[in-house]
């Protein structure tokens, strides 16, 4: 192989590699995007039915209820406009508290309850996740 064709081959290989990597990464990215919705948007039916998404809001004071057996817990999440009930089976993070902003990852079940498979709270007790803050702000303007 002479120098020119070697160079060409290399360019073709690199372009091919980049193309494959781009397609793969875009597919992987597309499949793993998690959209964020506020309780108001969920109530308005904007959230997907089948796909997982993230919901954020404040835990309504006095709404946390724990099952007597097992680890099921339910609580209400609000953006100060609408309320969505969230169910979660497992251990809540240390920073989960009533009145605190949290984010839950999961999907809606048929009866209007959000079933979470992950609940996130932030490591700053006075912290408000920006998505939650934005959702609250949006709700305030309505």
């Amino acid at each position: 192989m002479n120098k020119r064709s070697k160079r060409k081959l290399l360019v073709v290989m690199v372009v091919f590699g980049v193309a494959v990597a781009t397609v793969l990464s875009l597919t992987a990215l597309q499949e793993n995007l998690q959209y964020f919705y506020s309780p108001t948007e969920v109530k308005a039916g904007e959230a997907p039915d089948s796909r997982e998404f993230r919901i954020g809001g404040l835990v309504v004071a006095g709404s946390v209820e724990r099952a007597t057996e097992g680890l099921l817990v339910s609580f209400d999440l609000t953006d100060n406009a609408k309320i969505i009930t969230v169910e979660y089976s497992g251990i809540l993070p240390d920073l989960f508290r009533e009145g605190q902003g949290i984010i839950a990852l999961g999907a809606m079940n048929g009866s209007g309850t959000f079933v979470a498979n992950e609940v996130l709270a932030k490591h700053d007790e006075n912290y408000m996740p920006p998505e939650v803050a934005a959702a609250l702000k949006a709700a305030e303007h309505k």
Partner: protein, 650 residues
């Protein structure tokens, strides 16, 4: 009084740094020896004053001077001494001071240990480092003064976030910053070389040990962070693909590409402008990481308290440093010529492939981290990228990397014979693949291809690396430290791959409800909950659970997980209890009380998780070993010689 002195020292350091970054550059342009000679003493003076300032802040923490706002925010009367000292870098202002201190340490180290460097080049390198330092110092002086006073003086302060009260985390940021800031040396060398228009192999030789040592610190720092998250967060995970973690991982990936590319440039004089670009990128990624952590543009588990003014400042700083150096690169790199020629089957090509793979990985992390921001800034809604994206991307990147890792180090520079490699690697390849695929079947009777491939990869790296070692010993009987360092770091990679593969496949976890006397079985281990008692720590109260773990009726370990309430904090903190083993960890964390003495508990069985950190320790050690190689120590010998001559002529 002392805090004011600290503030004053910072101002003096700022003035010195301005001199450091301007005068030697002018000197280098005019070839004025006196101005050039100013660089070294200025670097030392800068270190002196920043150290004084740092000492003043530490002093305020130790003596509980709550009249200093920063101290009152991040320490209280009951905080143990260790965490008062580490409280200095517990948040934004103090950690900036630590950045500045470390940067001046590196600057001084270059000034002291690179005496054989041509004076003009040295003057330029130190001046560039001075410019970076100006950024950090003015950041502190104008937006984030750590010495700000508060009135009325509170009687007690706010405790340091209890999450940060862990010895692993106390030393994690300094290690990480040593790495981030260490890349500024390679950056400064690259910019100085571009300024001077002289980019030769000696440039690579000078910056290589600095880059490798910075890389070692960064590797160690990231490993510590991962280990802390595992111990402290109570989630049993070792990596979360959190934006802040990614912020430290991106410079690591680019830095890894850089240390490999520097090898080509040093040994063969090839890829010069590419290496320069990587040196610029590695440090840019470090600064970008700082931007992500401090500006709050990305949502993260452990981002610092955010402030838009700070974000704007870092963005401007980022523009000047990165934009300026890239513009310089665009302008001057045309003058850089690469002389070496090589065939497509050679060590050079392998190292180039390594660079492409690591850069692809960096881009993948970058895209995953920044994509939510892109979508947000286009006003298309708020999204986040789930961890499966990162896991998938890394699995894809790992395959070519692992195959390459078994072949590349065996290749000769310039040109090699494909047949020679084929005969030496064929058997190892088939053997590792066969053993790897069969292993999962032996472990639990199930043929698991993914796990098999992971194990095959680990075996392949280990066997080929050991084979290279054997060949080297047989051929030359001499083992340079740089070579041993590479072998150890690559073995570390093998351990890391093995650990990740096994822990991801065979780990087990369960959230359960346990009453005293009840038990739960996980992977053959019986976790029995004995009960709860109250304990008092130096600055916290805790509910401590007691679990007895047994296997086949024989007791294995006692675990004492805690739920702590720190003084001055309202939230409970989970303190996991872990029975550590080389081949498995048993892990218990307490959830919440469920009434009638019952608790929710999180139980884990984590096989081989230690190998992940053991592997990174090997990489760190490999880097340190490589830096100790005789080739670099010669500069010290020359330095002593040079000094002797100086004395003689005087």
């Amino acid at each position: 009084m002392i805090p004011e002195l600290g503030h004053f020292a910072l101002i003096v350091a700022f003035a010195i740094t301005i001199v450091l970054s301007i005068v030697p550059l002018i000197g280098a342009a005019k070839n004025d020896a006196a101005m050039i000679a100013l660089a070294r003493p200025a670097a030392l003076a800068q270190l002196l004053f920043i150290s004084l300032s740092y000492a003043a802040l530490t002093h305020a923490f130790i003596v509980h001077d709550f009249s200093v706002l920063y101290v009152s925010q991040h320490s209280n009367l009951v905080q143990p001494l260790l965490y008062r000292v580490s409280g200095v870098w517990g948040s934004h202002e103090g950690s900036l001071l630590l950045w500045a201190l470390i940067l001046s340490l590196w600057t001084t180290a270059v000034a002291v240990y690179s005496r054989s460097l041509p004076d003009v080049l040295m003057a330029r390198v130190l001046a560039v480092m001075g410019m970076i330092s100006i950024g950090f110092l003015s950041f502190m002086l104008w937006t984030s003064n750590p010495f700000e006073r508060i009135f009325p003086v509170p009687a007690d302060g706010n405790a340091l976030n209890p999450l940060l009260q862990d010895p692993g985390l106390a030393i994690h940021p300094p290690m990480l910053y040593m790495g981030y800031v260490g890349f500024s040396v390679a950056f400064a060398f690259a910019v100085a070389a571009l300024l001077g228009g002289k980019l030769d192999a000696t440039w690579a030789r000078w910056s290589r040990p600095w880059t490798t040592i910075a890389w070692s610190f960064l590797t160690f720092g990231i490993a510590l962070g991962s280990w802390w998250a595992y111990n402290e967060l109570g989630w049993g995970g070792w990596w979360f693909w959190d934006p802040v973690e990614n912020a430290s991982f991106m410079p690591w990936l680019v830095g890894t590409a850089l240390i490999h590319s520097l090898a080509s440039t040093e040994k063969r004089g090839v890829f010069k402008s590419w290496t320069v670009l990587l040196a610029i990128m590695a440090f840019s990624m470090s600064l970008l990481g700082a931007f992500i952590v401090r500006s709050g543009v990305l949502v993260s588990v452990h981002a610092f308290a955010t402030d838009p003014a700070r974000g704007v400042f870092i963005l401007v700083f980022l523009c000047i440093v990165v934009g300026g150096s890239l513009a310089l690169f665009a302008w001057r790199s045309a003058t850089v010529t690469s002389s070496g020629r090589f065939s497509w089957f050679s060590r050079e090509t392998a190292l180039l492939l390594n660079n492409i793979i690591f850069l692809t990985a960096a881009v993948a992390v970058f895209v995953g981290t920044m994509y939510p921001l892109l979508v947000d800034s286009l006003g298309l809604g708020k999204i986040s990228v789930g961890r499966p994206y990162f896991d998938t991307m890394f699995a894809l990147v790992a395959i070519p990397l692992i195959i390459l890792l078994g072949i590349g180090p065996a290749l000769r520079w310039k040109r090699d014979d494909a047949q020679r490699i084929k005969t030496s690697r064929q058997v190892l390849f088939i053997a590792s693949l066969a053993i790897g695929i069969v292993l999962p079947f032996i472990i639990d009777g199930v043929l698991n291809i993914k796990t098999g491939l992971g194990l095959a990869g680990a075996l392949w790296i280990a066997m080929t690396t050991l084979n290279s070692l054997y060949q080297r010993i047989r051929m030359s009987k001499r083992l340079p430290l740089a070579f041993s360092g590479m072998i150890i770091a690559h073995l570390g990679m093998s351990m890391f791959v093995a650990g990740v593969t096994i822990v991801m496949t065979y780990h087990q976890e369960k959230d359960v409800r346990l009453e005293p006397g009840s038990s739960y079985e996980l992977s053959g281990y019986d976790f029995k909950f004995i009960g709860i008692r109250k304990v008092t720590g130096p600055n916290y109260l805790a509910d401590e659970g007691h679990l007895v773990i047994s296997r086949d009726g024989e007791k294995v370990a006692d675990l004492y997980p805690q739920k702590r309430i720190y003084q001055g904090q309202s939230n409970a903190m989970t303190e996991a209890s872990i029975d550590v083993g080389l081949f498995r960890d048993l892990y218990a964390a307490m959830g919440e009380p469920l009434g009638k003495d019952a608790w929710s508990m999180r139980l884990y069985y984590k096989p081989w998780i230690r190998w992940i950190w053991l592997g990174t320790l090997f990489m760190t050690f490999g880097g340190i070993l490589a830096v100790c190689d005789r080739r670099y120590r010669q500069s010290v010998v020359q330095r002593v010689k040079g000094l002797n001559e100086q004395v003689a002529t005087n």
